[in-house]
Every structure is written in structure tokens, then in C-alpha cells.
Amino acid sequence: MKNISFLVAGVGGQGTLLASDILAEVGMEAGYDVKKSDVLGLAVRGGSVLSHVRWGEKVASPVVRKGDMDYLLAFEPLEAMRGVEFLHPKSIVLCNTKAMPPITVSGGSEVYPTHEQVIRVLQSAAATVHFVDASAEAERLGNLKVANVVMLGAFSTLLDVPRKTWEGVVLSRIPQKYVALNQNAFHTGCTVVKRSQLS
């Protein structure tokens, strides 16, 4: 069993840590040894959040070397760009398209990269790049907060783990009254990535 390494990137408060927790647990349920590493603390106040998740037969280091990440799951385009130095030419990227400009852009003088720049950088760094407008899908479902579950649904279609295992882990973390909503969000995610592959 070869190690599989994932980079999960997002902005503090976006549910990035919950998503990487779920990803790690799915690996465990699928029979892998699993490790993951987060940076917490003040970073959670709107800073960049990067999580490393690894599945394998026996995983030693919780932190992955640059150039060793097989997958990038990004909740925000700018954070996806920050993550490309971890990728290798065969990496697969799934990126939410909704931009969240940092205060250095909104209140300061720095410039947020254009959508074309984002596409160019990600495509030159990885083998396959999928974009999903998870925030729009979440809004359509009536709750912005499920954007990360939409992303996870989409991401699940890129991996060889039964959908049942994914749903089991995702839903076990959701309070009873939100189960249906999150199940919907997960299904939506599963279908959007198929659409983005076709186009």
C-alpha cells in the first residue's frame, strides 16, 4: 500500500479542520494507518489554514514534504495557489471557486489573483484540476455552511473508497436535525464533480 497524501487548504472559520478530520477518519475506516497535522491557534482568526492528511500502510511523519502531495482539496482559490508548492505533476486538485479576499486586499493595497491566474497556476502544477462552485451549491441548498460537505462529496468521487464509508463518517459528526441537509449536500457534491469532469 503506497502512502496517499492530501493537502487541505482554506481560511480559518471555513470548516477546513472539520473536513480534514473527516478525510482522516475516512482513511481509518477504509483500513489505512492515518496521520494528520494542523496548525491551530490565532490562525483560526481568519488566517490561512493548511492541514496535511496521510493514508498508508504505516505512516511515520504527520507532515508531508513539498512535492509529495497527491491531492489538494482547497476551499478557497488563493489558498489553493499557496498550496501548489506541495504538489507533483501527477497531483489532483479540487478547488472551490468562491474567493475570500484577505484584509490585505480588501482594506490594503495588495491584489487578489484573477480567476485566469488561478486556473493557470493550478493547471501548470497538477495533472487534473476540478473547480466546484460549492458555495453557490450550498446557497441553493439553503445553508452556506454546508459548502464544505459539498466539497467533500465532490472529493469522494476522486478516491477509491465506498460512498457508504464516506457518508457514515460525515453524518456521524452532524447533529440529527441537520442530517438530511448534509446528506443532500454530500450528494450534490458527488454529482457536481462529474459535471465538471465532462465540461
Binding site: A24, K36, D38, A43
Partner: protein
């Protein structure tokens, strides 16, 4: 056996459960805070847990509990150990009646600390055993082991994690909790052991030294120190998570993995050294192992190659391994892509609706020197405020302010300190200002919790860690009782009140206290309407942008006369704190009719 995925901190909490710990104390601090939070949440019925007012108090409480026959754990972040150490050192002499472990969560890489210090030295200084777990399974197991060692050798035991151990998750096999007594007997009266007065303590010192000799003997065949033989050309000694990194970067090397890093197993190290051609030590921060091994007369390389600062992540180890010729080529490493464009930074900011914003807004405008302290409000040192000119350690601001005052700094100076930090160590410094008749304004920024580390309770909250009711200590009478005559309390969300309060205190010739009250935006759950900028009224003056609220952004629309961008409010981020409306000179900011914030972010 149950298989679960736990962070190092959650695993330590589980370890406390499986070790029969009954009392756990500490003071919050990254990366240690989740240990007690987990205990309070998951093992509430078995383990009493409290946030003490500071780490020294936590350690004294732990000593009292362990003297009384309860297995006990204390937690601190790396710099918290500095505060805790005074109390730790006497427990080394007294020993305990039931197991006592101290957890120090270090921070190589300085993710949330003011310095990078290696707390392994505390074990050597105090002469107590030191355990260093490398992952969550070990984190759990070492607590159980630590309690055992503590009772077997009658000593407190230090367990040291680092941020990567505390905050990484890995698989843990859960065990059972042993049966522990529900009641304790009468307190032991053993003065020669527990009263550290010189005449008795003097007799305890040789006991401490002999204990270390016994521990070193034990370390020789302790299960957690072991050799993994591979090629004999390179031998690596490592501990903690650094061992995990090194395993991956040097797969051919032989390893001596140390779980107990003080006292060291000299014979084991010697035989490992004899079995390899080249011996290196890989350790983050100080040459703690290296110096001791060299002192044994063993030839070893360490800090020559691996610097004494920052983390030694697999990337760094690979690079240093290549540079020093330890690896010929980065095996299995693919080249990494460089990010082509300069990306805008995403630094942490005070939340939308943060009660600290109004204070830093004025401190920036009034331009006086500000002695800062530890908490979210430390973000006041960054743009757009730039209104904090010193920051050192917990509680330092008040003492530094007094120092500035007696040094004769010509400007009126100010200290900013949070509610929990004030209780932690600001109080003695304020008493000092009163007693020595200082001048200066201490601003107590009371946001109703210990926000930065995760909203823990403190004496100013009316709940405890375990959710019990607690008396809410009021600042104004407290500070008055301490002898401060000029005390004002203002609403942090009223810009005018903060300004006039500050001015009144600044004019006072003596020590004064300004209490800015306002609940942390993360705790405030009352739904309030969100705000909007009326683009027809906005004159693009930038006043509201100077508040650094993440909800206020530059709009695409510009002012025709100046060409400056107008302001805009993101309705999804605004929590309706009203501050921006108050600073707008032309009343362009108003409550947005079509959207209410939910207050349930």
C-alpha cells in the same frame, strides 16, 4: 480494543483517564489547551478538571491533590512552564503520595509563542524523569507510564510534547481505566518530607540525587527506549515527532529511539554508538541530548548540521541531509513547484464585531506609547492600528508601564491587558503601581472570556470549566480594593465613551484603570441587524477602513472628486457591532433593511 483517531492532546486526556488520574489542572495556552477541554468534556464523571488562575497556582493545586492521595495531572504551554516552575521545584524534593505528571507543550517554530524555548532543560534542572511521545498512541501510553514512574520513584514526571505532537492526529488503541479509590484518607502528616524548610529539605536533596541514579538504571531497559537496527554506516538518535520525520527521510539508517530523554540510558547509548560508523542526534531546538551524549565521551554530530531554531520538518531534514552528504539524492522526492506570483498574505485579524477594536482605534489616533500583553488584542500591534509598542509575556504590560513611568518617559503611557491575563499576573503588577505611586493608564479589556486560546473560563466568568456556576468577579470593585482611586468602566462598543474615558484617565496624576467592557464577538449570540454603506453618501474618506474590520472592504465605486474607492460592507461577515457607523463623518453607514445577521456563526 477500541481504535480511534485522536490528536496528541486528546490522547493525553485519554491517558489521564486510563492512568486513573482524578484531578487535572492548568492554564490555557496553545498548543496545550485541548487537554483539559477534552477531559472536561469526555471524562467529567471520573476526573475533576479546572482552569486555575495561572500555571503556578495550577501546580500548587496539583501538589496539594497529589499529597492528598489523588493521581493528578497539570498542563501548561511552553512559556507557561516558566510560571509553573517555581512550584514544580519543591515537589521534586517532597515527592508525592499519588502519581503526578506535568505536561509541557512546546512550540518549536513559534506558532503562537513569544519565544522558542526547549523545556527539556526543566527536567534536568529539576532532576525529574522526562518522557517525549512521538505520536498520539505514545502520548496516551506515556501518561499511564508517567503516573507509574511517578509512584514507583516518588517524583513528579515531566512529559514534553511539541505543537506537532499535540495537534497532529493519529490512531490510538484505547484501554481501560483502573479502579481508583473514591475517598481519600486523612492528610498525611509527614513534615520532614512535605515541609521544605531548609533543615528538612537539606536531607531530601541526597534522596533526589539517589532517585536520579535509580532512574538512569531503570532507563537502560525501559520499553520505550529501543534500538532499530538497519545499515550500520549511519546511526540516528532521536525522540518525539522528530524521530518520525527522520525515519522517513533516512530510511536506511539505524535508530535509537528514546521515549525517556532524562535521565539517559548511558550503556544503551554507548552500545548503539559502538555499532554504527557515524552517530548523529536529530533534535529540535537545543542540543539537549547531544551535549549529554558528548559528555559521556561519545563522538556525536548534531547542531553542526541541524540548527537550534525552528522545526526540523521532513523538508528541512532532506535539505540538510543533502547538504551534509548524509543522503546522496533525495530518494523518492519529486521536485516541487514554486508559486509564480507574489500572493497576498492572509494574516489573522480582530474578528468583525471585536470589542477591542474601539480601544486600538483611539490608541492609534492618540499616538501614545502602549505596553501590550498576551491575547487576541496583541493584534493591535498590526496595521491598521500599529498601536502596541512592547509585548513580552503574560501580565508584563503593567510592570512595563510602571517602568516607563519611573524612567520619566515624557508622554503619557498606557498598558493594555485582557481580563484573564489581568487575573493571571497583572494583579501583583497593578498593586506595585499603587504602592510605588506610579502614573499611567491600565486598560483592562474585558471581553468576558479567555478568547484567544478558545474561550475558557476565568474568575470574571460565571461558569467553570466543568460547567458549574461561579461567582463573577467584578473588575471595578476589585481594582478599587487594590487601592486604585481613578477607575472608569466604559462600553467598548461606544466609541465616544472609550475616547472620553481614555482622556479622563490620561489627565489623572497617578495610576488609573479604564475597564472597556464588551463581550467577545465569538461569544455574542444576540442577533443584530447587519450594516451597509450608502454609496451616495460615502465620501471615500477611509475612516471606517481604519477600523480594520474584516467586513468592511473597498468597493469598486470611486469618489468622483478624489478617485478614492468608497467603502462597502460584506453582509455575510458584519455582525452589527455599530462601531463603523459611529466613526463615519457623513452618516453614510446605516442598518441594512434587507438582512439580519443570525448571530449563530
Amino acid at each position: 480494543m477500541n481504535k480511534v483517531l485522536l490528536s496528541g492532546n486528546e490522547a493525553i486526556a485519554r491517558g489521564a483517564y486510563e492512568a486513573g488520574v482524578q484531578i487535572a489542572t492548568g492554564y490555557p495556552g496553545t498548543p496545550s489547551s485541548e487537554i483539559l477541554a477534552t477531559i472536561a468534556k469526555k471524562y467529567k464523571d471520573e476526573i475533576y478538571a479546572e482552569w486555575s488562575t495561572n500555571e503556578k497556582v495550577a501546580m500548587d493545586v496539583a501538589a496539594g491533590a497529589a499529597y492528598s492521595g489523588r493521581r493528578t495531572m497539570v498542563t501548561a504551554k511552553q512559556v507557561g512552564m516558566n510560571v509553573l516552575s517555581d512550584a514544580l521545584l519543591y515537589t521534586v524534593y517532597t515527592g508525592i503520595e499519588a502519581g503526578l505528571v506535568v505536561i509541557t507543550a512546546d512550540d518549536p517554530g513559534m506558532f503562537s509563542s513569544q519565544n522558542e524555548q526547549d523545556n527539556r532543560w526543566y527536567a534536568k534542572l529539576a532532576k525529574i524523569p522526562l518522557l517525549e511521545p512521538a505520536d498520539s498512541q505514545e502520548a496516551k501510553d506515556f501518561v499511564v507510564l508517567g503516573i507509574g514512574l511517578s509512584e514507583e520513584f516518588d517524583t513528579p514526571v515531566l512529559i514534553r510534547t511539541t505543537m506537532r505532537v499535540s495537534h497532529s492526529k493519529s490512531i490510538v488503541l484505547e484501554g481501560e481505566r483502573p479502579s481508583v479509590p473514591q475517598e481519600v484518607g486523612p492528610f498525611v502528616r509527614n513534615q520532614e518530607k512535605y515541609v521544605c524548610t531548609a533543615m528538612w529539605a537539606k536531607k531530601r536533596h541526597p534522596v533526589v540525587e539517589q532517585r536520579l541514579v535509580n532512574l538512569a538504571r531503570y532507563a537502560e531497559d525501559a520499553p520505550f527506549n529501543h534500538v532499530e537496527w538497519a545499515e550500520h554506516s549511519l546511526g540516528i538518535i532521536a525522540s518525539g515527532v522528530t524521530y518520525m520525520y527522520a525515519r522517513e527521510v533516512f530510511p536506511q539508517a539505524s535508530f535509537l529511539k528514546l521515549g525517556m530523554t532524562f535521565p539517559l540510558p548511558e550503556e544503551l547509548i554507548r552500545s548503539f554508538a559502538d555499532g554504527v560508523e557515524k552517530l548523529i542526534v536529530i533534535e529540535e531546538l537545543d542540543p539537549f541530548l547531544e551535549e549529554q551524549i558528548r559528555a559521556m565521551g561519545i563522538n556525536v554530530i548534531g547542531k553542526e548540521i541541524f540548527p537550534p531554531y525552528d522545526e526540523l520538518l521532513p523538508d528541512t531534514l532532506t535539505q540538510l541531509g543533502l547538504e551534509s552528504g548524509l543522503i546522496d539524492e533525495a530518494k523518492g522526492m519529486t521536485h516541487s513547484v514554486t508559486v509564480p506570483t507574489e500572493l497576498p498574505a492572509r494574516t489573522p485579524v480582530l474578528c468583525a464585531g471585536c470589542p477591542h477594536r474601539s480601544t486600538y482605534y483611539w490608541l492609534n489616533k492618540m499616538k501614545m506609547p502602549v505596553a501590550g500583553d498576551i491575547g487576541c488584542y496583541n493584534l493591535g500591534c498590526l496595521p491598521p492600528f500599529n498601536a502596541q509598542h512592547t509585548m513580552g509575556c503574560m501580565g508584563a504590560s503593567v510592570g512595563v508601564l510602571h517602568g516607563m513611568s519611573i524612567a520619566g518617559v515624557p508622554e503619557h503611557a498606557v498598558a493594555t491587558i485582557g481580563d484573564s491575563t489581568f487575573f493571571h499576573s497583572g494583579m501583583p503588577a497593578l498593586l506595585n503601581m499603587v504602592h510605588n505611586q506610579s502614573r499611567g493608564v491600565v486598560i483592562i479589556m474585558d471581553n468576558g472570556s479567555t478568547a484567544m486560546t478558545g474561550h475558557q473560563d476565568n474568575p470574571g466568568t460565571d461558569w467553570t470549566l466543568q460547567g458549574k456556576d461561579a461567582p463573577h468577579v467584578e473588575f471595578e470593585p476589585l481594582v478599587r480594593a487594590m487601592g486604585v482611586e481613578k477607575v472608569l468602566t466604559v462600553n467598548a462598543f461606544d466609541i465616544g465613551e472609550v475616547e472620553s474615558g481614555l482622556n479622563e484617565c490620561l489627565a489623572y496624576d497617578g495610576p488609573s484603570v479604564l475597564i472597556t467592557e464588551g463581550l467577545c464577538a465569538q461569544l455574542d449570540r444576540t442577533p443584530k441587524p447587519s450594516y451597509m454603506v450608502n454609496p451616495d453618501k460615502c465620501i471615500a474618506c477611509g475612516a471606517c477602513l481604519k477600523l480594520g474590520c474584516p467586513a468592511i472592504v473597498k468597493a469598486d465605486k470611486v469618489d468622483e472628486k478624489t478617485g478614492n474607492p468608497k467603502a462597502e460592507i460584506d453582509p455575510g461577515l458584519c455582525v452589527g457591532c455599530d462601531i463603523c457607523r459611529q466613526v463615519c463623518p457623513v452618516e453614510a453607514i446605516q442598518i441594512s433593511k434587507d438582512r439580519e445577521t443570525q448571530g449563530d456563526r
